[in-house]
Amino acid sequence: VKRAQALLKRLWALARVRQMDRDIDDEIASHLAEATDEYMQQGLCPEDARSAALRSFGGVTQTKEVYRQIRSFMWLEDLARDLRHALRMLRRSPGFTTVTVFTLALGIGANTAIFSLVHVLLWRELPVSDPGSLVQFTWQYPGDPPLNLFSTEQYEQFRDRNGVFSDLIGTAPIGLDPAAGGEPLQTEWVTGNYFDALGVRPALGRLLGPVDGAPGAPAVAVVSWTFWKNRFNLDPQILGTRISVGGVSARQAGSVAGVSAQVVGVAPQEFSGLMTGYRPDVWIPAAAHPNARQGGFMLMARLKDDVPIERARAEMRVLDRARIEELARNDPQWLEVTLEVESARSGFSTPLHQQFGRPLLMVMAIVGALLLLTCANIGGMLLARAAARQREMAVRVSLGASRSRVVRQVLAESLLLSVVGSLFGIVGAYLGANALVRIMTSGTRLIGAAPSLEVPIDAAVLLFTAGAAVFAAVLFGLAPAWTGFGSSPAPAMRVTGGTGQLRTRRVFGDGLVVAQVALSLVLLSVAGLYVGHLSGLRNRDLGFDRTSVLLVRLDTSRVPSGRDQLGQIYKELLGRFESIPGVRSATLSGMTPISGAAGSRFVSVEGFEEPPAARRRLMLNDVAPGYFETFGTSLIAGRDFQFADEGRARVAIVNQAMARHYFADRDPRGRQLLLEGDPRPYEVVGVAADAKYADLRSPAPPTVYLNAFQHSRLPSEFALRTSVPPATVVPDVQRIAGDVLNGASMVKVTTLTEQLDASIVPERLIAALSGFFGGVGVLLAAIGLYGLLAYTVARRTNEIGIRIALGATRQAVTRMVLTHALFLVCAGLAIGAMIAMSTRRIAASMLEGVSAEVLFPTVIAAVVTIGIALLAAYIPARRATRVEPLIALRAE
């Protein structure tokens, strides 16, 4: 403890060298002054007294020099010497060094990568003043994901009538706006108080003010620093130039004239808007938008001092009540809608947060466990090395090295390993994190621009990595250092063959293997949970056949044909598609399964009454003949739609869930149903099997299919079932579409499987990562077990030799080694199973819909672990049987 204290003091001293330099100067000065005083009292004149004082003091500069050396530099020299020695030792065993550095790079790199993602996505605060007092608003309609879009009226009502916020700002979701002559711009339309409320200061010019947000004010713009740098090369002349943006996306009908706004300022470099993953190029007052009052706002507010968020939430709910009750008159489900007010410390919560926040935290826990496992693994290897170097240590101790020097040298070795591993790890983390971001942003997205997340390796990340590296080094260096501490020279020097293994060391080594097995079991069972969940999502109860379906969306907005012509053209198109070799059937529909899009209406059926509060909207889909055949959804009863239905009485096909609810056990065929807001009835002509609709995670909803060719607007999502790989027919589809439909362009080409996968990116990500790390974990545990057994067998060579010489059979020797291995594995499995069982609820809660049933994955994981462990134990066990008694004994 004392030595540690001295070490800490010296570290501290290094940190405040200057202060201490001043201190010693002061101290010597007052010493000399005191001495001078005394000499003067003895009767010397001031000059003589002064020189007498200096004389009796000795060399002032020398003293300071010596003082300084003792103070701080000695330990640095020691450290350098330790590191040099460690480097020599590691270079002497390149195999061990390579494996260890690689393992560490993986462990620390994985932690760094996930931490950098979590940091960017969840923890990094907005670079605005007092981000902790910012809150955001969301509301949720039952069954839908939470939304954060509010109408302009709501914004104004909240702004004018609340008593809890010092500011309320509104910002329209960022969209790509085509700019006049140039690349499209990410524009954020904001209320005039945006920058003032956030407390952001301009880098150049001025930011928007309340005047700019007033209706009719001249349109002005603030650009981002990145935009200023990339397009204007930081030229201050940007002030006063005009930027033109289109108000509405050109693809939407009735596109309006663009807005031309004068640039008045540049936002500071660190500020890039309020949404992680989106970096606006330009901020323009929403009042300047041509459709100013139609667009919605996301709301962010700053709490007044001393107002707790609960009070704000309660007050806002009261304010919103009248509107909800109004809406609930037509749809009682609105009564279940509640307004949420949550912290916006790190910006608006985006789908990225909602989808990946909890899974990433889970992965963080997984890689944390992996790092522990890595440490146990390397600790075990170092322990074996330390045992092999026991004599070296003993010699050093007996030659006068203090124990702590020996321990510190062992720690220097682990620190060196850890630092080198971390350096590789950081490189890996940078690549890995960006690869993960690409996967994360690849998912289904219905509206808005694609998020682009930048994952910088910044100070926080590096600090984390350094912390992880030191933590790991201490953890895996602890075992060998501890045994090094206890190394007393005498017994170690005496032992020649190495039978005298310290008991503590043996228990320690065994314990490390048990820990590795336990951790790998936990990792594997968690992986099993997520992999099982994913495969269930992909394959169970879909209600359609996801393989071999090609999806093509055509953009027909520029095709000049009228509805009747288009119907003819589409029929021809479907016929030509079906004639492509390898295509079994073709259809078109308003929605394709699991695209994320949904259409729903209230449906009423004659003779079926239900209380208004129990009414639920039914899912709708406009489909062409051949839809059920193409998607592999079976028709249970009745008939499919026909082209011949066009112009005749309107028909519908319902699925079983709908039929169960509205028609109970009776045959729905021939019955009539009415859609909300549509006076003409539909006659049910068929019943289809249940199929998932917009989302893989929820069960098949009650659904009504309508014949697309009976409607005035034709959908343009084409689907083809193929008997060959779907991608191979794409050129033919393209050619035919070009031939038949002049001016149409293919907007989207994908397969149904890809569309499914895009909707479950979080599940895939966590399954892939947990599976990968689980595999790495079990591999490491196997290596650890192998290492321990190989080392034990080597150490016990002469004991085994004696046993064999005394008549032990080879089987008995094998059994001895395998029993040891099996004992360790079973102990590890027991501990691991307990941990897996007690953490299963947490693991399951990280991903929606995962059941906490871990028994099965744990059993599978245990079987895998035992299998791999026995494989790892087999080689040392065989080596034990090969021991030749004579040779073994001669070695003694």
Partner: protein
């Protein structure tokens, strides 16, 4: 660097310092130097400056502690105090010193003995 034992244990300066602090209570550097000189009857040619590295080593070892205070003449000086560890250490050192001294003494007696 570990405090070199022979420096502090058998190097007499460190021992003198802690003994002085034990006897006199908290003192600043100049007073310690003067006290050592007085006790040795001014026979010890002490470079007062060498005191400070020794004080630093003792402080790093945790045997003494220091704080800034005022001297009798009103100057800002660093005042050193013996810690509990230092007191314990001093007892040990004293015992060892006595033993070592008595052994050496016995040697001199033997060689003085005419038989």
């Amino acid at each position: 660097m570990t405090p070199d034992k022979s420096d502090v244990l058998y190097g007499t300066l460190g021992l003198m310092i802690i003994k002085t602090l034990e006897a006199m209570g908290p003192l600043h550097g100049y007073r310690i130097a003067r006290r050592i000189e007085q006790i040795s009857g001014n026979q010890l040619a002490l470079n007062q400056g060498t005191l400070y590295p020794a004080l630093l080593k003792l402080e790093q070892a945790g045997w003494i502690s220091s704080r800034w205070g005022e001297s009798e003449t009103g100057r800002r000086v660093r005042i050193y105090t013996l810690t509990r560890t230092g007191r314990r250490q001093l007892e040990k050192e004293e015992a060892q010193w006595q033993r070592a001294a008595s052994i050496v003494e016995r040697f001199f007696k033997i060689s003085d003995d005419p038989s």
